[in-house]
Symmetry: C2
Subunit: 254 residues, 2 copies
C-alpha cells in the first residue's frame, strides 16, 4: 500500500474566488477534506470526490480536539488517501498549523503547504487602504488577542514598534483591548473593525481608538473580525464613501 | 465616453498557480496591464487582450518614477480602459499601493483591490513552518528594512514584541541588520533567509541569528529575499530535510 499525502490548504478569507488556482486543483483531487469552521462551506463543491469531515474548533463552542484532528489526518494519509486539510485565511498564521506539521513530520507523511489570503489583508482591501502606507509606518504586526495562557499581549511593546496592528480574535474583549492600547497610543489613533472580511457579509466601522470599541459594538459587529489600529488606517476615512459603492459589486470609488 | 476602472491586483510570490481565481479572471478581461519588476513575466499570457507596460522600479536600478506610473494608470482608466495594475506579493503590504489608491481616489476612478500571497508567507511554506507557532510566539511582524529616510528600523522595539520578524528588502544590509538584532535578541535565535520564495528558483538557508548573514552570503543568496527571525523559525530545522525532497515536486517529507 502506498502512503498518501496531506495538502495543508489555505482557503483565504471566505469568497471562493479568493482561493489560489493551485488550491482549487488540489481540492479537485482530494479523497478526504478536513474542514475548519470558519471556511466557506461552499468550498466542498470544489472537492466532488472527497469525503468531507467538519472539524470546527471555535473558542467557547463545542469543538473537535486538536489531537483528534491530527489523528484523523494521519489515519487517512496512512491509508493511502490524499487528505486536504483546509484552514481559513493563510494556514501559516494562527490556527495551529505548527502542531499539525509536527505530527506529519513525525509520521513521515509527505505534506504540501498552500498559502492563501489572510483576513487582515482582506480587511485592508475592504477599507481600500494599504496596511503599510509609507507616510505612516514601516510594517504591520499580526497578533492574536487570544493567548494560550489567557494573559494579555504586551500592548506597550506592540505599540512601540510604530507598525500597523492587525489584531485577530479580539472581538470578545475589544473594550479591554482598546483601553489597554489607549495607555500606550494617542486616543486619536485611527482604528477599524472589519467583520467577515473578504466575504459577502463583510461589514466595517472606522473610528478613533477612543471610540472604536463602542462604535463596533453599537453596530453589532462580532467575531470573526479583525481589529486594525495605526496611522495607516486613517487613510480609510478618505477611501470609504458608502454613497459611491456600486450596488452588488466589489467595485467602489477608491 | 464611460470611465474605465482599475484593478489593483496582487500577483503573489511568483508561481502563477498561486494567483487567486479572481485575479486570473480580471487579467483575462484587462485592456492594459501595468507590470511591476518582481512579478513573474509569464503572467502576461493570462491577459491576452491587454497592452502590457512594464513599470519596474527597483532600488538602485533604472526605474519608472512612481508619479509616472500613476499618470499612466489614470490616463488609461479615464480613456475607458480596464487597467490592471499588477504588484508582486500582496499589493497592500509594501509597494506603495497607498499612493496609487490616493491618486485613484482623487480622480474618482473606480478601483477594485485583489489580495494575494505575500512572499513572507511563501517563505514559511518553503520552510515547512507556521509563522506563529503558539509554542513560540503570538504573532508576526512584517517590516521593511528599506526605510524612506534611510534610517534604521527600531530593532529593539521590534524584538521586544516577541513576534516572529519577517524582514523584507533587507538583503543588501543583512550583516548590519543581524548585528543590530544581536544587540537585542540572543545570538542563538533561529533565523532563515528565503530567496525567491514561492518560485521555481526558491533557495533558503537556516541558521542562528549569529551565523545567518555569513551563511546566506556564502550561499550566494541575494534579493529578492525574506529574512525570518524568531523562535518559531527554529521548527524549520526539524522540517527541512533536503534528502527527502521529492525531485521536481513541491511535496516534501514534512
Amino acid at each position: 500500500m502506498t502512503t498518501g499525502k496531506v495538502t495543508l490548504l489555505s482557503a483565504g478569507p471566505g469568497d471562493l474566488d479568493l482561493l489560489t488556482i493551485r488550491a482549487a486543483k488540489r481540492l479537485a483531487s482530494a479523497d478526504v477534506v478536513l474542514l475548519d469552521d470558519l471556511v466557506n462551506p461552499g468550498i466542498v463543491a470544489l472537492a466532488p470526490q472527497a469525503r468531507v469531515i467538519r472539524v470546527g474548533k471555535r473558542g467557547g463552542c463545542k469543538s473537535t480536539p486538536q489531537a483528534f484532528i491530527q489523528r484523523l489526518m494521519l489515519r487517512y494519509a496512512k491509508a493511502g488517501q490524499h487528505v486536504v486539510r483546509v484552514k481559513g485565511g493563510d494556514a501559516l498564521m494562527f490556527g495551529r498549523a505548527g502542531e499539525e506539521l509536527a505530527a506529519l513530520r513525525q509520521a513521515r507523511i509527505p505534506c504540501e503547504i498552500l498559502n492563501g489570503v489572510s483576513s487582515g489583508f482582506a480587511a485592508a482591501a475592504g477599507l481600500g487602504i494599504s496596511l503599510t502606507h509609507r507616510d505612516h509606518c514601516q510594517g504591520v504586526t499580526f497578533v492574536t488577542a487570544h493567548l494560550r495562557d489567557h494573559s494579555e499581549p504586551d500592548w506597550a511593546a506592540l505599540a512601540a514598534t510604530g507598525t500597523t496592528l492587525a489584531i485577530y480574535m479580539g472581538m470578545s474583549r475589544i473594550e479591554n483591548l482598546c483601553a489597554a492600547l489607549m495607555g500606550v497610543l494617542p486616543a486619536s489613533t485611527p482604528a477599524a473593525v472589519v467583520q467577515a472580511a473578504g466575504t459577502a457579509e463583510e461589514r466595517s466601522v472606522i473610528a478613533s481608538l477612543e471610540r472604536i470599541a463602542s462604535i463596533a459594538l453599537e453596530a453589532g459587529l462580532g467575531s470573526p473580525a479583525v481589529i486594525l489600529v495605526g496611522n495607516a488606517i486613517g487613510e480609510a476615512v478618505l477611501s470609504v464613501m458608502p454613497e459611491a459603492f456600486e450596488q452588488g459589486s466589489a467595485l467602489r470609488r477608491a
